[in-house]
Symmetry: C2
Subunit: 187 residues, 2 copies
């Protein structure tokens, strides 16, 4: 399966595409960062993130988008921007009927390094090894996005097809419900 | 000027359109709530919010969208959903080149009631009076959206046109920058 991992952020939003199945060597199809200028208005930054994510979805047609689950507990100053960037990534995927999976930072670290408390360097080193790259992807956000995609492929091998079918079905239902609601209102 | 106020939320996203200028009686053009089902996936809920906001933008063509500024400090459990819904509202507006203004809950309360600590009932009562409605808009999220729009019209009478010009200009610049970046990458 082909997974786009997204490490959400307004200044640097890491993106990485990994293909493969659990138990076999994985391949990296692409890695990068969607950047927006810190001095731009928040609305324009979100438009920039949307454009960037759309470009990656167009280019790689992933079957699933894995996004880091954002918590409000830590880093209060940056968490709002992270939540907003992740909302845009989830919106872009769901709009196309692509299922979205959320994984916590410690799930991702544990999946690729064996420890939920691993540091950035360790995650980067394991991503490099697992994808047989010549050097760790930079910046760390890009490596984290690849780690998210790897984590998803390894954690949910059986669940993924089911999840995709459910996502497509739910999107159709939601569209039908909203169409019915609009019809009701304009009567 | 015509302002769409948005009180962001995933379950109930209040929306209200107010027209007028500071110092003159204001008119309500529309009020409502965009709802999404709590048991839907987060991605689909964001798609539902997007559809709802787009519908209001299409219907009323506001010159500005006023959104409640979300803080991470309080209500940790709901704040992430609020941040995500507000991101979608800001994205929808900015994509069209419509400027976005953020106001804190206490700025809004102070603008319509004279006290930054006013309760929901007081805000509802003042919105009813200021817009000459027959009854307070329900639910409270709808009244809060109208209060946001009123707050914006009263707080920034001179600033608004400037802000609109700046937003349009910045959108053009951002589009040009991104086009240049894509061009650079594909060379």
């Amino acid at each position: 399966m082909r997974v786009l991992g997204v490490d959400p952020g307004l200044t640097r939003c890491g993106v990485g595409v990994v293909e493969g199945v659990a138990g076999r060597p994985l391949s990296m199809l692409g890695v990068g960062v969607v950047r927006t200028a810190a001095d731009d208005d928040i609305g324009l930054r979100l438009v920039g993130i949307e454009r960037g994510i759309e470009e990656w979805l167009d280019r790689f047609s992933p079957e699933l988008v894995a996004v880091e689950r954002v918590f409000a507990q830590h880093n209060v100053r940056t968490v709002m921007g992270t939540a907003q960037a992740s909302a845009v990534a989830m919106l872009c995927a769901s709009r196309r009927g692509i299922p979205v999976a959320l994984h916590t930072p410690s799930e991702v670290k544990a999946a690729v390094t064996g420890s939920g408390r691993a540091d950035k360097a360790q995650v980067g080193a394991m991503v490099t090894r697992l994808l047989r790259l010549s050097a760790p992807p930079k910046p760390a956000d890009a490596a984290d996005a690849l780690a998210l995609a790897i984590c998803h492929i390894w954690r949910a091998p059986a669940q993924n097809r089911l999840q995709q079918a459910v996502a497509e079905n739910r999107l159709q239902q939601a569209v039908a419900r909203q169409a019915a609601a609009v019809k009701g209102r304009t009567r």
